[in-house]
Symmetry: C2
Subunit: 562 residues, 2 copies
């Protein structure tokens, strides 16, 4: 169905609006292009979106990262873009239907029970209509996914041990089982992965964890005979139905409430995440090693770029950096679609080059390169902004301010339990002083060969992300000047306890030099200069043994003190 | 009744616990000592407290500021102190009554409807028992309060104009009236004040605002014949009862729900606060002038202290600083009970000297002095830490780090809408780097001749305080070394828009020198030294015209560059 057809249906059936978030049944960010109903309907390919289709018009809600891109990808006659936060459609509905009397259609696989509850609390006079006829049909991938087990050598803890730690929480809450609907967490719990998605090795399955320790996985289209098809989910849930089923309503498709019934459903929250985002010692060692492998690839790429950028396009860059990573024996896949943006494309925060937007690298400007890999031993995510020729001083100064913001957060110590909102301000403050800012989060947790974006978050919204030791997170402030250039400096870090105190610090994982050609030393104070020099010294010492002479020479120069 | 008598009652009637927050019917912080049931029952005089009286024992919940004081004031055989956050009793109940089956008695005048709703959501199996027999009786003051009107010369806006701005919000929410149960806000709305409390000139009244613009005030024991006694509240609410009554359930005593009935009660939140905490231009000018008057008093006091501290006690200090303020023609009353703490008393965060704790000022230590006044034109609140003799270098360095934290926040610019959590981290970061911290908020809004503590807040908890222009707030980081010394540096500021940007900055109100004898210049960077010098230059230029020669000479010295 097209948007005009859906609107005609709404008109005919006197339904005021259709609410469609960018979800599949796992309610997570990573979905296949063929599952992306918003892409199919509007052309918008960004990773944060929801639609409200009204009888006369369609409203697309996204966030600041996609302000420019969303306008470029959609038809302004059909789609009005509203850039705000993910929560915004509800506030908008409140203003749009002032008397609160309206009907809203939705697909219960794509909307969480938590969202439905919030909707009902906000709009006591509105009417919800379940799209059970499939006006907007879920699209599935035809590809059969290969399922594989992470070796314990890398996972550190067996699935059995992880499950045994979860069971007491299920029992304590008086439940007979727990339905885990987060694919990211089900993959972590079972140590299983798959090749279903191009850049996230998660196994896209629901896990029904019974209090006796047995786990049944549900997923379609896999090569693992132990995984039941989704059509068996209903029957298995009904077997639990005599007892109580624990769930996390915030992440539970409303459909499960309809299948299981509300009565014996107990909302015990996400009992996995707080274990999953604290990395064990083996995982941490894996991240450290994977970042060395990744640094070899990035250093080779940067060396190549310095000597070969003239006449190359953004897509050439993507091909080259991806090829450099693929040389590593342990490389599995990219951790997300590589972003290579030159000149004004850099100002489109999460721009991905395509045949239609592809640009030849601009001289005397910068290349913004955000990329990463999943390896057998860990996951990486790095952004470097790289000088091409002689960028103007405005770019150099902006890059230096972004670097100051990066250092401010990377070098701070902070008490256990500090929130992502607090850390965010420590970083952004450096930009605010120069009347600069950026419209995306400052950092995100990075899954262990799972989704590259997970908890905790560092952002103005992350009031519920409380930091603890052994979390892996990015720090990635940026600055974007529309129609001109974009800058982002991203390293991964893990949190570590300081000696003899209750404080945490960030220990760096990423080992790739920052582009000194983009640093105006006179804008840095002594402590900041020292931070850059100590970082580069560490990069040099750790990475030089892995490089041949020509790359070693390049690195020595790149890592020389400011 | 005593705690053992209450416990005996609970045992006899098989009631598991009695929940008693430190409230009167206005659910605000400022209460009279004779209304303080927790003080009467336990001896604890702090401003943050709630009690859970169980059959065998009493649990007192307070926060980190009162960790030491609460232990000193209560009997450890009867009362167990639990230092955490204000929300904690519920979490504690959850752990204490593990199966969730327990009965809890409470007085519905002292507990908000919001708290009761939260309780019911958390404890579906618990039983609430309304203390309608008055096991713990509310205590009222016998004193008749004098009610007076703020002149528009100082208030800036008439009560009629303020009310006319509130009416549309009442109508938009489909209500016929709004019951305002915050005395702070009712005082602001009506421009009325009273002398009921010793250090907060609020009129302690409920305001019933009808959609026709008429306002009925309810309060006992006033000299204003237009104010109805509280006994008339029920009848007047019943007259509204045909229609809908708007309330803010978070701040509404549960008793009102029981009088009015839940059915026609509409929770439309606090519709006054966001107007009240944005000061108008006349109010802001009043704050500015009042701070000059206050600075004259403080400078005279500091001059006196330098020459006379030997042999003086903390209570002598309180008497002297209070007397200095009282000399001003526009002085109304203190804005809170003066804190003067020397040596180890300074480490008790909200210590107030009394006959039993009073100490002679320690030589070679510091005096922590936190005081303020209400004037006809505004309200002040200032803390200075003052050298007595030659304090050890540990104190000087600690004071310098606290100063760095103060400057970090005072000199930052930040986008409109930034939360108090974010601002808190910018301040505290400077302390974290030295493994220091403090267990109280970083700042609070300051009412205009109202409660000295109001919204917005700057703290690790203040995720819902969003900053806008023209708010008046304190910045007051500190450091407290148990059994040794205490430091706090507090100025008031108002938020102001930066030119040509969406950013806010803090504009200083307080004009009293910082003690340079406690500043180790070598711990400050150039920007921080410059901040101190610019501040002192402003103090000197503004204040010197108001002083006689001996005070002027003292100030010139105090304000000379670092």
């Amino acid at each position: 169905m097209t948007l005009p057809e859906i609107r005609a249906y709404l008109q005919k059936h006197k339904i005021d609006a259709y609410f469609l978030p960018r979800n599949n049944m796992f309610l997570e960010e990573d979905i296949l292009p063929e599952e992306n109903l918003i892409l199919a309907l509007t052309g918008f390919s960004g990773s944060a979106a929801s639609l409200v289709i009204c009888q006369d018009k369609t409203y697309l809600f996204t966030d600041g990262r996609y302000e420019l891109q969303s306008k470029m990808e959609t038809d302004p006659k059909e789609v009005e873009i509203i850039c705000s936060s993910a929560d915004f459609p509800f506030v908008w509905l409140q203003n749009h239907f002032e008397n609160g009397k309206f009907s809203l259609m939705y697909n219960p696989w794509l909307v969480s029970a938590g969202t439905i509850a919030k909707f009902c609390a906000m709009f006591s006079q509105a009417k919800l209509i379940n799209d059970d006829k499939g006006l907007i049909k879920l699209a599935a991938s035809a590809k059969k996914a290969h399922v594989f087990k992470l070796s314990e050598e890398y996972a550190g803890i067996s699935a059995e041990e992880k499950i045994s730690e979860i069971i007491p929480m299920i029992k304590q809450n008086g439940c007979d089982a727990y339905l885990l609907t987060s694919a990211n967490e089900a993959s972590w719990l079972t140590n299983l992965r798959s090749d279903a998605l191009p850049d996230s090795p998660i196994l896209r399955a629901y896990a029904l964890i019974k209090k006796d320790g047995s786990v049944i996985l549900f997923a379609d289209n896999t090569d693992d005979a132990n995984i039941l098809p989704l059509s068996k989910l209903e029957k298995n849930l009904k077997e639990v139905k005599k007892g109580k089923l624990g769930v996390d309503k915030k992440n539970l498709p409303q459909m499960i409430c309809e299948i299981f019934g509300e009565k014996n459903l107990v909302d015990i929250g996400d009992i996995i995440r707080n274990k999953q985002i604290i990395k064990n010692e083996v995982e941490l060692q894996g991240y450290i090693e994977a970042h060395k492998q990744d640094a070899v690839a990035m250093i080779k790429f940067l060396y190549w770029l310095d000597n070969n950028y003239k006449g190359k396009t953004e897509l050439d860059i993507v091909a080259k950096v991806d090829a450099c990573r693929a040389q590593d024996d342990k490389f599995l896949c990219k951790s997300f679609d590589t972003i290579a943006a030159t000149g004004s494309n850099g100002a489109i925060v999460h721009y991905h080059p395509s045949e239609s937007t592809n640009k030849v690298l601009e001289r005397n400007s910068v290349l913004l390169l955000d990329s990463g890999g999943h390896y057998q031993n860990g996951t990486t995510d790095i952004t470097r902004t790289i000088a091409l020729g002689l960028p103007k001083s405005q770019i150099i100064d902006a890059n230096t301010i972004v670097l100051k913001a990066h250092i401010a957060l990377a070098s701070t110590v902070f008490p256990k339990g500090t929130t992502g909102v607090a850390l965010d301000a420590i970083c952004r403050k450096e930009l605010w002083q120069e009347n600069m800012d950026f419209k995306h989060g400052t950092g995100h947790g990075v899954g262990f060969i799972l989704n590259v974006h997970e908890a905790p978050r560092i952002s103005t919204q992350a009031k519920n992300s409380h930091f603890a030791a052994n979390m892996v997170t990015s720090i990635e402030p940026g600055y974007y000047k529309e129609n001109d250039f974009g800058i982002r400096i991203e390293n991964l870090y893990y949190t570590k306890e300081c000696k003899n105190s209750n404080l945490l610090k960030f220990e760096v994982l990423t080992l790739v030099p920052l582009d000194k050609r983009l640093i105006n030393k006179y804008l840095l104070d002594e402590g900041e200069i020292n931070w850059v020099n100590v970082y580069h010294q560490k990069v040099w010492e750790t990475m030089s043994p892995y490089l041949d002479n020509k790359h070693k020479e390049w690195l020595e120069d790149a890592c020389a003190p400011l």
